[in-house]
């Protein structure tokens, strides 16, 4: 097990370095001259000024030296300065990330908590009304466009029934809890502030359902298919021939085997939720990375875009690493 962890970690580290290279190359080889973008026309026509400016930003160095400088900056936690906000990119990301992590995590847990039991039920009672219902739910989840679902949910539960709070992470008049992690649910608990906790939780309900909808559909389908496949295996018949209870057979023999493909999907889905909440965050005025990404892209804020790309790719790497490691835990044939 330890060996698996070490080799996978080493692999992930190599991939991370490659990711920085790709990000660096994309940012530094795109057409467009930063000189013209940053200096005025008159200054740009003076070769001495241009050379000085290039030297100041290190643009006169060869590409590989600039990459090494970029790497050194990364190691020191320096992702550059955002053009739009004039603040270090890392600070910006640190400010927006918690909102997204909180939303994506709740949506992910919701997707697992709904999709897996639904998938199990659909497989155990397959071709019954339970199965049909699960199929309809997953079809709706997969095929509803996020922006549409978000508006419909807001219109019904906020505008119409008025049982859900409006957009945002908290009531406009409420104060956020003292920041520890930036995750309001945790911070409010740490501060002992029940009211803020309830407020934050209530504001999470609609966006997390909207964000989770497609993932619920996918996880339900995958779980159902994996369960059905595992239920057809010989060891299931052996368990029945041993006189084990049906519930025991399903939970102890079928489920652990069926979960293996679900874990793969779950990992990818979580990374997607973290990186792909742009639509949901925009509709729900959620101050997260998705909105930051959208704003940076619209403003052609290259340092910010590079920083986000790097963070997203490292997130994928970490999630993949976790998937690999949980594989080794779930399936004794892998690793060890």
């Amino acid at each position: 097990m330890l060996r698996t962890v070490v080799t996978r970690l080493a692999g992930a580290a190599i991939m991370a370095v490659l990711a920085t290279l790709v990000v660096f190359l994309i940012a530094n080889t795109v057409p467009g001259d930063p000189v013209l973008a940053q200096l005025g026309d008159i200054a740009a026509s003076n070769p001495a000024t241009v050379a000085e400016w290039r030297a100041k930003w290190g643009l006169d160095l060869p590409l590989w030296e600039r990459y090494l400088l970029f790497l050194r900056g990364l190691l020191q936690g320096d992702l550059g300065i955002s053009i739009a906000s004039q603040r270090p990119v890392l600070d910006d990301i640190a400010q927006y990330a918690p909102a997204t992590v909180e939303l994506a995590t709740i949506a992910f847990l919701l997707a697992l908590g709904t999709g897996i039991p639904l998938g199990i039920a659909a497989a155990v009672w397959h071709d019954s009304w339970v199965d049909a219902a699960a199929r309809v739910i997953s079809l709706i989840g997969v095929s509803s466009p996020t922006f549409w679902l978000a508006f419909v949910m807001l219109a019904i539960f906020y505008g119409g029934l008025q049982i859900a709070p409006g957009p945002g992470r908290l009531d406009p008049i409420a104060f956020p809890p003292d920041e520890v992690t930036g995750l309001f649910l945790i911070d409010s608990l740490l501060a002992g502030d029940r009211e803020a906790f309830h407020d934050a939780a209530a504001h999470l309900v609609l966006p997390s359902i909207v964000l989770a909808a497609a993932t619920i559909g996918l996880i339900t389908r995958t779980t159902r298919a994996a369960m059905l496949e595992a239920m057809g295996q010989d060891y299931v018949r052996v368990s029945r021939a041993k006189g084990m209870r049906e519930s025991y057979t399903i939970l102890r023999h079928v489920l652990p085997n069926a979960l293996i493909p679900v874990v793969t999907l779950g990992g990818l889905a979580y990374a997607n939720l973290l990186a792909g909440a742009v639509m949901t965050e925009t509709v729900f005025s959620w101050p997260g990375l998705g909105r930051y990404t959208f704003r940076s892209a619209a403003a052609l804020d290259f340092p910010a875009i590079m920083g986000i790309t790097l963070v997203v790719s490292i997130t994928y790497l970490l999630v993949n690493l976790l998937v690999d490691l949980s594989y080794a835990m779930l399936d004794p044939r892998v690793g060890r």
């Binding site: 080799t7 080493a10 060891y235």
Partner: protein
Amino acid sequence: MKPPTLEVEGLRTVFLTDAGPVRAVDGVSFTVDAGETLGIVGESGSGKSVTALSLMRLLEEPARIVGGSMRFQGRDLLAMRPDELRALRGDRMAMVFQDPMTGLNPVIRILRQLTEPMVGHGRFAPSEARRRAIGLLGRMGIASPERNVSRFPHEFSGGMRQRVMLAMGFANDPALLIADEPTTALDVTIQAQILDLLRQLNAEFGTAILLISHDLGVIGSVCRRVAVMYAGEVVEEAPTAAVLEDPRHPYAWALVNAVPRIDQPLGEDRRLVSIEGAPPDALALPPGCRFAPRCPFKVERCEREHPPLAEVAPGRLARCWVTQAGQLLPRTGGAGLGGARAVPSAGAPLLTVRGLVKHFPLPRESLFAPRRVVHAVNGIDLDLARGETLGIVGESGCGKSTLARLVTRIHAPTAGSIVFDGQEIATASAAAIRPLRRRMQMVFQDPYASLNPRMTIGETLAEPLVAHGLAQRGAEVRDRVSGLLATVGLNPAWVSRFPHEFSGGQRQRISIARALALEPELVVADEPISALDVNIQAQILNLMLDLQQRLGLTYLFIAHDLAVVRHLCDRVAVLYLGQVMESAPAEALFARPLHPYTGVLISAVPVPGRARVVLEGEPPSTLIRPTGCPFRGRCPIARPLCETPPPLAEHAPGRWAACHFPGEFAHAGLGA
């Protein structure tokens, strides 16, 4: 008096299909007394496995029991509630399934899978169950059970897994164990170990055993009585020895005679008894005897009236009008069709193999792990004369299939030379081999996987002809394809059918026709009959014999069934860990093996009433090359001298063996 352990009366199980109810089990009756052993034999689709699942009440949709009664120790199984059945399963009545590779849950440790039924049925506390599990594993012949019990299934070989399955079956000391083809997926040596174990367990614990198999030899070595099933019915029930000696139902007769016997002298005519046709469609069973359409002994009454299962001799039941009228079935197979065997020519050999080596490097487990190598073939020398049949035998992993793929240059050898008709092909380029390809063709084991499902058989057979430019597209190809189909005994009108429209035996005929399309000199057949029922096996073997005589073919015949090899082959080479242990003329090799490995292989073939020397253990890993004699780790007569590798030496004319003590093991009491 205690009721019998199992009493089945008129059991009827159907599959409810869209086309109508398929009568899979149709009025089966038998009784198993306490501690008794009963075998059920029949070909695939005869209803034997459905019978077993019906007994356990483990049928799945769309199968349903529609009639009859089943009593287990006097209790009506059909009247039981689901929880009563569950309490019985795995407790008083246990079942072991065919495939040990898939029967164990890959993500659960052996220990837990063993203790589950003990704890689940409330017979043992968890700590007791653990002790018992370790004890049972040890009893089943698994080394260091304390350590192995906490392993996962994938760390066990097939034979070890089947021992675990047996231990599971015996977990709660059942009154009845149903074993459905428990050794079919295993090597003959491992099969012998498992059958021995079953016999001992029956004697030791007094557990009644219902053994299901397609192999009468397997049943004969465990069971005192046997029920022969055909088309959902029992057609004969009698002591196993009596059926083997003197079957009283024509189907049982065909089963017995379709299989070459390793303990009987070889005749001049090697053709086996095979019956034509296929089992009846279970949707439209004939009104009379179900075997009548295929029966060589039928009389007029058989077509009209369905015979009952009635006594034909004391303690012997048969469902046959002919034998019930007192007629006996002939002792050996019908009329000899052909003459004497062609004598292989003494000229230059067609194929010469020297020092052949093939190593497969495995993909690295991780970036930093050392590369491991499978040593599949480790220095093989062979000569194959024109018109000869050379048999290659050995346990799985001995390099048989790799050898087949090397001599046909599907794989490129790591080292060594292969000379085909005077031409060195071991290192020849693909372009240089291409013209030779048509002179050597292969027939594969699995007739289902080796035919492209999207091509009609006409296209399949025309492809090699066109590719090698042997025939012009159009009428010429059509004529050749029709001719080929006729050669292998198929209707030439079937050219536009797809593979799924054919049975396994017919598909294997198509595979053979494809191999013959290019009029090859050498046919390499890799286990061509092991996926087939015995009657179909006999048909294919007869076809191969026929074709050899008519076309002067040379065969390299790879098989694990020693009786078949003895029957078909002129010479035999025995492989172990990628090396030849012994090679000799077939008759001499089987009569008096020189190498102890040959001796134990022959001894492992299940022949009722014969004492066996059971070979312990399993072939070692091919990842590490052994030092000294490769067989010495399992050899019953190994001595210190065996630490130096024995050369393959000629000990008598044509008889080669790689052993320091040739012939000693045979003298040590096998008795040929």
